[in-house]
């Protein structure tokens, strides 16, 4: 949360979350906490997960996405993934996550 401004930005009603280099259970709590605070405080409608820096992700990343989706989908919000590398794209598609998150290329 050191560089919160850089990691979390709100553009219109989109919350953009810059995901860390390695997305695992250890990193999940911090991301979840920050994201949820901003969803509540700033009335965010949609969320964009930016995977530009991400080289590793395990199933903990899916949990982060599913959790945030649950929070905003009841208000008609949508969830997007951008800048995913080939492996993360594959992880999201083979796990069926693309039914809730749109992978934008």
């Amino acid at each position: 949360m050191e560089s919160k401004a850089r990691e979390y930005a709100i553009i219109d009603n989109y919350l953009c979350i810059k995901m860390p280099t390695e997305v695992d259970h250890h990193k999940a709590a911090g991301i979840r906490e920050c994201a949820d605070r901003m969803i509540l405080d700033d009335k965010v409608k949609n969320i964009v997960f930016d995977f530009e820096d991400t080289t590793f992700m395990d199933s903990s990343g899916l949990g982060i996405i599913i959790g945030r989706y649950r929070k905003i989908s009841c208000f008609g919000g949508k969830v997007y993934a951008v800048n995913t590398n080939e492996r993360i794209t594959r992880l999201l598609t083979t796990s069926g996550m693309t039914s809730i998150i749109e992978v934008v290329s």
Binding site: D24, H25, H26, R32, D58, S59, S60, G63, S95
Partner: protein, 153 residues
Amino acid sequence: MEENRINEIKLEFEAVSENEALARVVAAAFIAGLNVTVDELEDVKTAVSEAVTNAIIHGYKECGGTVVMNAVLKKESADTYLLTVEICDTGVGIEDVEKAMQPMFTTGLEHERSGMGFSFMEAFMDKVRVVSSPNMGTVVHMEKRLKVYDERQ
């Protein structure tokens, strides 16, 4: 490594989330000497991360304990190695392993788990076997055949 030679490591660590990265980096380093593809390296890292994370959050309920990782590398032929990785905990154990391994099955819904950990292990490794009993702990045994370029070339 000579034909039929074996390399083996054992890593014992505290069940805290910081060590998830440690375990997968050690597993990657263990096979880094072979000319494996980046994808194979990532497969192993992901599978180890899944099993270790499970030990920490399900096995020990995030209250700490000891996790052991055993890794064995065995040369099978001129260009194939068999990697075996075992992740062991002495935590709460799993009552119904078959059910636990089904895609999307999770007992960690309130912790935002997706239930895809075992599915990832099975997708990224050639073989996954789980031995577990309630209150005794869990051993996740995984194997992956690695095809490499001959080191001498």
